[in-house]
Symmetry: C2
Subunit: 153 residues, 2 copies
């Protein structure tokens, strides 16, 4: 049956970000629901942010649409225009190619939970609004194309 | 700001199904959030089923992944294996090409609400488990390929 047993899906706390940009990801716990369920073109993840956790560095995708729905708790959405507090049931969408970086930060004292979805061409890469980084098929690079060294783990 | 004002998105009660298969859709109210937000490859819809409402005829897609999350109320998921009651927070995924039709029916006495997502190639078509119908780039057809006549409205 395709109803997903969330408890059966591993909760991962990993990130591929180079140092020091991985540090803000310490409070992010991700279940890759789409992959778990055999989906191949629709990305679907269940994310818990601990207090202080970030969803990502503030970023955009050149070739992927994204959509997020809050399920529990409260998070602050940050974009070029400013901040918006998100509550359960709130929906947010980001169209591919719009170079307005976004991320969520949990400034509350409780966990928050959301689902996020994506579709498109990840290989088209994207950028980060607040740091000297882009992502390409070659991995994470400085904006001038210099690669970041792999992070020791 | 990309936070979606749900009240600003039209709620549509339309269906392209030929008669008599449109009749069960009378209790389905859809907001096309993805299109509203400028998404082009990630489908995202907010759906309210009135008591008695169906999400669709029981169907599958040959080329599209689908994902659904319940937001409020209760619905019955029906598939080849049987029935599963879905509650808020429950997540369900259907991988493209799995010929096990699915739909939700609201057998409760209150509205239920869910979000559904899709990505892939709609043009690959699909089938219906319980009725003599398929969908192709030519529209709705009998399983033998005979087209259904357009529905008078």
């Amino acid at each position: 049956m395709p109803k997903i047993d969330l408890d059966a899906v591993p909760q991962l706390n990993t990130t591929g970000y180079p140092a020091p940009f991985h540090e803000q990801m310490a409070g992010r716990w991700v279940r890759r629901l789409g992959t778990h369920a055999g989906l191949t073109v629709l990305g679907a993840s269940h994310v818990v942010l601990k207090p202080g956790g970030w969803s990502s560095q503030r970023h955009w995708h050149e070739g992927e649409d994204e959509f997020l729905v809050m399920l529990a708790g409260e998070a602050v959405l940050i974009e070029d225009e400013g901040e918006t507090i998100l509550h359960p049931g709130d929906c947010v969408a980001w169209a591919m190619g719009v170079r307005n970086g976004h991320h969520l930060v949990n400034r509350s004292d409780a966990d928050c939970t959301f689902l996020c979805f994506s579709a498109g061409e990840r290989a088209a890469g994207g950028g980060y609004s607040d740091i000297d980084m882009i992502f390409t098929t070659q991995g994470y690079q400085h904006r001038d194309g210099t690669p970041y060294p792999p992070r020791e783990s």
